[in-house]
């Protein structure tokens, strides 16, 4: 349903003019801001993002923080381009270092003609392309609080890149208006401090320039925000969750948005309560969801199985992070897939959907709600840290593309017209009509024990077989209506690429790089992961000689699912794996893919 991004353009670097008196124009630029947790690196990135977005550029931001509130290295990176982008750039044009560690960590990624801004009140650097400003003492001295150093740095950058002064101020106003009063005043002063300090040095005046882009209506959004909005617009009205990185924002957004729509959001006492509150609300007839990450997901195992056995529609958004156990809470991974595909003792049906872009997050959340309610089973919305928390410029969501399908839900009149109401009535497609509790004249019994059509406990062997088929066959019957993959690249290519989630972005760029090196590829971006949609995957795999399956985990989980579903084509699959907590970058990915494809055919 999403509009595929335009092809990723060649890097601006290739055809940039040699350095001269006039500012060099950057059409795809990247800034990395590093410091200690609490230094406000995310704020600098946020301000730049707002500015670039106002200039009509496409923006992608990502963050790298530790699981602690202050201290420790933290960095934020932002990319702005005149063409759509869906990943961070491999190399950095401008490095802003609030401490020496950040300089050390970021240097290696700098473009040959890249530049460094550093806080000279903290350390000193002799590098030729480094300019020191005493950010902290400037802000501390003039404004009383060194923390304004982040806005001061934004001021220096704005001068250096020749930002429009009015727009530059407007960004500060937008950002701090809600807090008003002193914070707004001081930030505006901090901005001017930076601008005037920069103005005194040739190196930081109009060194680079940025032309307007054409993406005027775009918004800069994270996947978590898109999921929250998709939930509201898709008719979601009950949400219960428990804080956990990187899922918490979904709950926090909904706490703000949902009450206006007779919706209820509860921060539960734990994930067991969250999933069971959601089950209760779903039983009562509300579109319901929870979101969580690894540890919380594991705790929800029994509850999700209950929804599967009792045929209750719940959506569980899993914001994957580095596992196992508490792992690395703020880092990126895609290692929950097999757990989700087989989660829970016993067997029950479930669908696993995976959006690949922020845009897709919105629309697939709606789909997840529709599918859960229509088929009356748990649907997993599989996300990952980068998709959840990185932000990207995104088309305004189009409400006219959204439909709400409540399946076979009966209103009072329809229910009254029935002769017999059985919660688990046998039907050709396994979907029983649903009358919410409270429907006049109707009562229902619901249970996770094996049951007869009325929902009363039964251990009759023949009934058991019927009920297993009723539930399990949904995975076969629904398959044709589950979200289709997106395809990118050369139709006739002999080399396939397979991935899902946020890997879509860097992989599309890698595809571009490979194309430039002469390797034509076709990329299947999976959006339904389970049950494995063999109808669309098989022809794709048959059409290529070999396919790299690119994912963020150790064991090649998606490869395993594919191998099991299509063992005859297993020989074509080549896992490309990364599991160090960081996202793929396009150039590295392109190189790895080339290497892997050269490897022995398994």
């Amino acid at each position: 349903m999403t509009t595929p991004l335009a092809a990723v353009p060649p890097s601006s670097r290739d055809d940039a003019p040699a350095r001269s008196g006039r500012p060099k124009e950057l059409s795809d630029l990247s800034v990395l801001i590093g410091g200690q947790g609490g230094d406000g690196t995310l704020t600098v990135s946020d301000l730049l993002g707002r500015y670039f977005r106002k200039r009509g550029l496409y923006v992608y931001t990502s963050r790298n923080v530790l699981s602690r509130i202050r201290g420790g290295h933290a960095d934020a990176s932002i990319r702005a381009s005149r063409e759509p982008v869906a990943a961070i750039k491999d190399r950095v044009d401008l490095l802003v270092a609030f401490d020496e560690e950040s300089l050390g960590m970021g240097r290696g990624e700098l473009e040959p003609d890249g530049m460094i801004l550093y806080d000279s009140s903290v350390f000193h650097s002799d590098l030729p392309n480094a300019e020191g400003f005493p950010f902290a003492t400037l802000a501390g001295g003039q404004l009383g609080q060194p923390i304004y150093k982040n806005t001061t740095a934004y001021g220096v950058i704005s001068q250096m890149m020749g930002f429009d002064p009015v727009l530059t101020r407007a960004v500060i106003e937008d950002r701090f208006r809600r807090r008003g009063g002193e914070p707004l005043e001081k930030n505006l002063k901090a901005l001017e401090l930076g601008r005037s300090a920069a103005a005194q040095r040739p190196a930081t005046v109009d060194r680079w320039s940025v032309r307007d882009g054409g993406a005027a209506r775009h918004r800069l959004l994270t996947g978590n925000l898109a999921v929250a909005l998709g939930f509201v617009v898709g008719g979601g009205r009950f949400f219960a969750g428990y804080p956990i990185t990187p899922a918490t924002e979904i709950m926090e957004y909904l706490q703000r948005y949902l009450p206006a729509f007779h919706g209820v959001v509860r921060q539960a006492e734990d994930e067991l309560a969250a999933i069971n509150m959601v089950i209760g609300a779903a039983y009562a007839g509300a579109r319901s969801m929870t979101s969580t990450s690894g540890p919380g997901l594991s705790l929800m195992t029994e509850g999700i199985g209950h929804a599967g056995a009792a045929e209750l529609p719940v959506v569980v958004a899993d914001c994957q992070r580095v596992g196992p156990s508490t792992g690395e809470p703020t880092r990126h991974e895609q290692s929950d897939l097999l757990h989700l595909a087989h989660l829970g003792h016993g067997e029950f049906p479930r669908f696993i959907l995976a959006p690949g872009t922020v845009d897709d997050c919105f629309y697939l959340t709606v789909e997840a709600l529709n599918l859960a309610e229509k088929w009356r089973l748990p649907v997993i919305l599989l996300l990952d840290q980068a998709l959840c928390q990185n932000s990207v410029t995104t088309d305004p969501f189009d409400i006219s593309r959204v439909t709400v399908d409540r399946g076979r839900r009966l209103d009072a009149a329809e229910a009254a017209a029935m002769e017999t109401y059985r919660y688990y009535q046998g039907t050709p497609d396994g979907i029983s009509p649903y009358a919410p509790p409270g429907t006049p004249g109707v009562t229902s019994q619901v249970t996770g024990n094996e049951h007869d059509e009325f929902g009363h406990v039964s251990v009759n062997p023949a009934n058991r077989v019927r009920m297993m088929h009723k539930r399990m066959d949904k995975m076969v019957r629904a398959l044709p209506e589950l979200p289709l993959p997106h395809f990118y690249g050369a139709e006739k290519a002999r080399v396939g690429l397979i991935a899902y989630g946020s890997t879509t972005g860097p992989l599309r760029e890698a595809q571009e790089l490979l194309a430039r090196r002469g390797l034509a590829t076709r990329f299947l971006q999976a959006r339904t992961l389970f049950p494995v949609p063999v109808a669309s995957f098989r022809p794709f795999l048959e059409s290529v000689d070999v396919a790299a399956v690119v994912e963020h985990n150790f064991t090649g989980q998606f490869s395993q699912l594919l191998r099991e579903a299509m063992p005859d084509l297993a020989g074509k699959l080549r896992p490309v794996l990364r599991f160090d907590g960081l996202s793929f970058r396009a150039p590295e990915l392109a190189t790895t893919i080339e290497e892997v494809l050269r490897g022995p055919v398994g």
Binding site: F261, Q445, H456
Partner: protein, 290 residues
């Protein structure tokens, strides 16, 4: 009338205390003229938890220990439903302890009946958290849910009944459900419900129960007094019963969770989620946040 889920014959042992709860619930719902379709019984897992099958009513069999979480979800999704959660002491005080303690804080207007028999009936007689020292090798002191309930500063209804005294139980359940119907919050009733197979305490309990309302100074609006009365009664070897806490009068401000969150009483399950119906609100939201 649509033919739908009927009551099935009980699967309890003859004489089980849980029968007392079954008939008291039935009687109270009848007295209050709450139709079958308007009430939901959330069962726990255990002998006790099967109760929802033995009434013609909406029933959901929650996971072991999770009945209160599911009950709160139901009540918040549709505050018009009469919601009764009913389960055992293993279910509520062992695996369900976290949700139990949080139910008082949450204060959704639903009734929780916990059938206390000191044992895990369905798994054949192990010690529940309420079991005395020595029961099936138990070395831990019994947990007292009423005292835990009384300890917190929350405006709930708290009582204990005895399956051997169905008349009083009926009265108290009716009062509790009325409390819920008035939107005043959570009602907790612990019922002394002997397990005749693994722990037949009928005789002993009949001798030990003492209704605190018969004592001088009884004042269920005052936590300090009730805590003292309760402890003094226990020290005398008696088992306190009756209503232990009931706020004096409904306060002007909504105290129950569902009224705080849904002041107009239209719940998530009832709201029209059609796109057209909500377009203006959605446009405004998308405009504001993106």
């Amino acid at each position: 009338m649509v033919q739908s889920a009927k009551a099935i014959p009980s699967t309890w042992c003859p004489g089980c205390g849980h029968f007392g709860v079954l008939s008291a619930v039935k009687k109270s719902l009848g007295e209050l003229k709450i139709p079958n379709h308007a009430a939901v019984l959330v069962g726990g897992i255990g002998c006790s938890g099967g109760i929802h099958n033995f009434l013609e009513i909406n029933g959901i069999h929650a996971l072991h220990g999770r009945l209160l979480a599911q009950a709160v979800g139901i009540k918040l999704a549709n505050p018009k439903l009469t919601v009764i959660a009913a389960g055992g002491d293993g279910d509520g005080y062992a695996i369900g302890m976290g949700h139990f303690m949080h139910a008082f804080k949450k204060n959704a207007s639903l009734l929780y009946i916990l059938m206390m028999n000191e044992t895990y009936g369905l798994t054949k007689g192990q010690a529940a958290p309420t079991a005395p020292i020595g029961f099936d090798g138990n070395v831990e002191r019994p947990f007292d849910g009423i005292r835990a309930a009384l300890s917190q500063e929350v405006p709930n209804f708290v009582a204990r009944t005895f399956s051997g005294d169905p008349r009083t139980m009926g009265k108290i359940l009716t009062e509790a459900i009325t409390f819920n119907q008035e939107g005043r919050g959570f009602a907790f009733v612990e019922d002394l419900s002997p397990c005749v197979t693994y722990n037949d305490t009928y005789k002993e309990w009949r001798q030990r129960v003492l209704d605190l309302s018969t004592l001088p100074g009884y004042d269920p609006t005052d936590r300090k007094t009730m805590f003292r009365l309760y402890l003094e009664t226990v020290e005398k070897g008696k088992i306190p019963t009756g209503v232990f806490h009931r706020p004096a009068a409904p306060s002007a401000e909504a105290e129950s969770l569902e009224l705080k969150l849904l002041p107009d009483r239209i719940g998530p399950a009832e709201s029209d989620i059609g796109i057209d119906r909500n377009r203006a609100g959605y446009d405004k939201l998308l405009q504001a946040v993106t």
